[in-house]
């Protein structure tokens, strides 16, 4: 359990510790609870076959907030994110224990249907993955399968408002019947965000949404994330600490499958309390 060679027991309990003084990885440092949570995760463990990928993570995701998850590659941040809408179900060997609740409903309850869950917890992936269909059909796909539209006019208005909220409407309104794969990378990613918005989710999960994009497209997406916060709860996994600092209100730092530290973004980036967090954000590794 001791990934850090110099784990000093006892320091974890010192809540008023100075920057970078906590070294134990046994417990999460910082405030895992929020006053108004949209999702609550308690003691989540994830296994890929025999290998454990996530160790005992507890975390609240606050309403209309952006929470960013940072950490070195392979630290389990994406795996944790994919637990929140049960995308890990598509991997045969993956097993999740613990409790994840959304508005008091346990999403891993055996009786729960994943279809409405995934409709209310949308996801945007690392690489833009528009379907090989027209721009219109890409957006209309979700509303169609969930029966959200009553008629063609209604569907049209859903498509338009989704594209507008994703900031893509002005660019594509004249070519809605063109294939979505023909857009530029940044436009494709905003199309995917619009596609996720179209089913009116409550939470949007973003798995490194800008890692395949150039800086200008990235800036647009970050701006968009900030606007979306008004109506949605957003959890974003990112490799870029600047991005986490720019877009999120809370930040969670993962290391080797453990949630090391979580807190207000300002606090994490100015005065991290855990040694590993400090090392990571000051660029000593990762």
């Amino acid at each position: 359990m001791n990934e850090t060679s110099a784990a000093t027991p006892g320091l974890a309990e010192e809540t008023e510790a100075a920057a970078g003084t906590v070294q134990s990885t046994d417990a999460t440092v910082g405030e895992i609870y929020v006053d108004d949570p949209r999702m609550t995760c308690r003691n989540v463990n994830v296994y890929y076959g025999e290998k454990q990928a996530i160790f005992d993570v507890s975390l609240d995701i606050g309403k209309n907030q952006v929470i960013s998850m940072i950490g070195p590659s392979g630290c389990g941040k994406s795996t944790f994110l994919r637990c929140l809408n049960r995308m890990n179900d598509t991997i045969d060997v993956c097993r999740v224990t613990g409790q994840i609740k959304m508005d008091e409903q346990d999403i891993y309850d055996g009786g729960l249907d994943v279809v409405p869950l995934r409709a209310s917890v949308g996801m945007v992936f690392q690489k833009p993955n528009p379907f090989p269909k027209s721009i219109y059909d890409n957006i209309a796909y979700g509303p169609k399968i969930h029966g959200l539209s009553d008629n063609k006019e209604h569907l049209d208005s859903i498509v338009e408002s989704s594209l507008q909220r994703a900031g893509l409407w002005e660019e594509v309104k004249d070519r809605l019947d063109q294939p979505g794969t023909g857009l530029s990378g940044g436009q494709q990613q905003r199309l995917c965000i619009a596609r996720a918005i179209a089913v009116s989710p409550e939470v949007i999960l973003m798995d490194e949404p800008c890692s395949a994009l150039d800086p200008i497209a990235t800036a647009k997406i970050e701006e968009l994330i900030d606007e979306l916060r008004e109506n949605f709860t957003i959890a974003i996994v990112t490799h870029s600490m600047q991005q986490a600092a720019r877009v999120s209100q809370r930040t969670a730092y993962f290391h080797l499958g453990k949630l090391i530290e979580v807190g207000e973004t300002d606090q994490i980036f100015t005065s991290p309390r855990h040694k590993l967090t400090e090392d990571y954000i000051t660029g000593r590794f990762g």
Partner: protein, 460 residues
Amino acid sequence: MHTSTLIILLLGLMSLAYYFGRKRSLSLVGGKVRDLHSLPSYYGMQTAMWCGIPALILLAFWLSFEESVVTGMVVESLPQEVQNLPPERLDLVLNDVRNLSQGDIVSSTVDQTMQQAADHYTSLMSISHMALFVVALSVAILAGLWAQRTITREQRARNRVEKAINFFLLSSSTLAIFTTVGIVLSVLFESVRFFQQIPVTEFLFGLEWSPQTAIRPDQVGSSGVFGSVPLFAGTMLITLIAMIVAVPIGLMSAIYMAEYASKHFRTLAKPVLEVLAGIPTVVYGFFAALTVAPFFRDLGTDIGLTVSSESALAAGVVMGIMIIPFVSSLSDDVINAVPQAMRDGSYGLGATRSETIRNVIIPAALPGIVGGVLLAVSRAIGETMIVVMAAGLSANLTANPLEAVTTVTVQIVTLLVGDQEFDSAKTLAAFALALVLFVITLALNMIALHIVRKYREQYE
């Protein structure tokens, strides 16, 4: 002595040349391989190639011209009146001379001049063989020696060997292409001969097929009508039935294999499905003729339909079963080639598995699936054994799958089986049919490959 002895001798010389070439390159630098431009084995190979290739090329040319040169010399030695015979008659005489010299059966009586010509032929042939032996071996030895003597340490042996290998590979692939061209040309020439007797329009648009031509004017049942429409209609009918069976079953099994089946089931079921592809078509043929056709006939009788005991339905269904693994394995490949990101995107929106398959995976994989189906169609059109055994021989122009029909391939088989005269329209019709069939399947294959390639480009 025989040519094979010569080839074995040449191969022996080549290995000697390899040994000496390698040895000389090493002795040039006193065993320090680093000082050579190339590894010693390349010098060996270079020497061996110089030793073998010119001699083998000489051998090939010699053998291809030997016969005509010797024959020409024999003709000149024949009496004037024989030389003045028309070409076909002269050919017959020369054939006799050859047969006589090899101790085969001769068609005419053996007279003095014939015997002399045969002896002359035999002696010329043996002289030519001896000369070939001497010349080829000396070319091999001289070229090998020259190559070995001229080895220097800067010589770029590796590059030369690479170039030679490159050339060998190129000639192998052109050989395959030329074979195809050769097949096409032979079919084409025979077809042209056919079309000199029967007009193209009659062949392509005629509605009646009855290829028995009369040898004697009073022969019965020898109409000799060559309208190929019933054959192509029969082919299309059977292909259609086969595709109706194969496409849904193959596609659905591919979807199950790719999207639903557990790993365990897949490793078990895929080889079993591919066993279907390994069954010889003749086995499918008698399965169709002895099991499926009677089953359909009895079933038809039970529900009050007349089903011919050799029906298009039986042949088509069995052919469809044969093609299932073809369709399913090609579709399986293209479905697996659809990126996981597409599935994730759809699942992430809350789509169920079947919604994802219907709305995302199948549309994305459709070009590949269509390509696979077209390849399967061209396979079905060219299939012979099943239809020979199960579909019958009567050239009915019908769209009723319960009747017997015949296909292009079946007719080609029946036209060419047994002793045939190659100047009658009946036999030549087979080549015309083959030509049209070839054009159709070639076109289908090209369309299919084009579609498949276009699809592959999309995701790479």
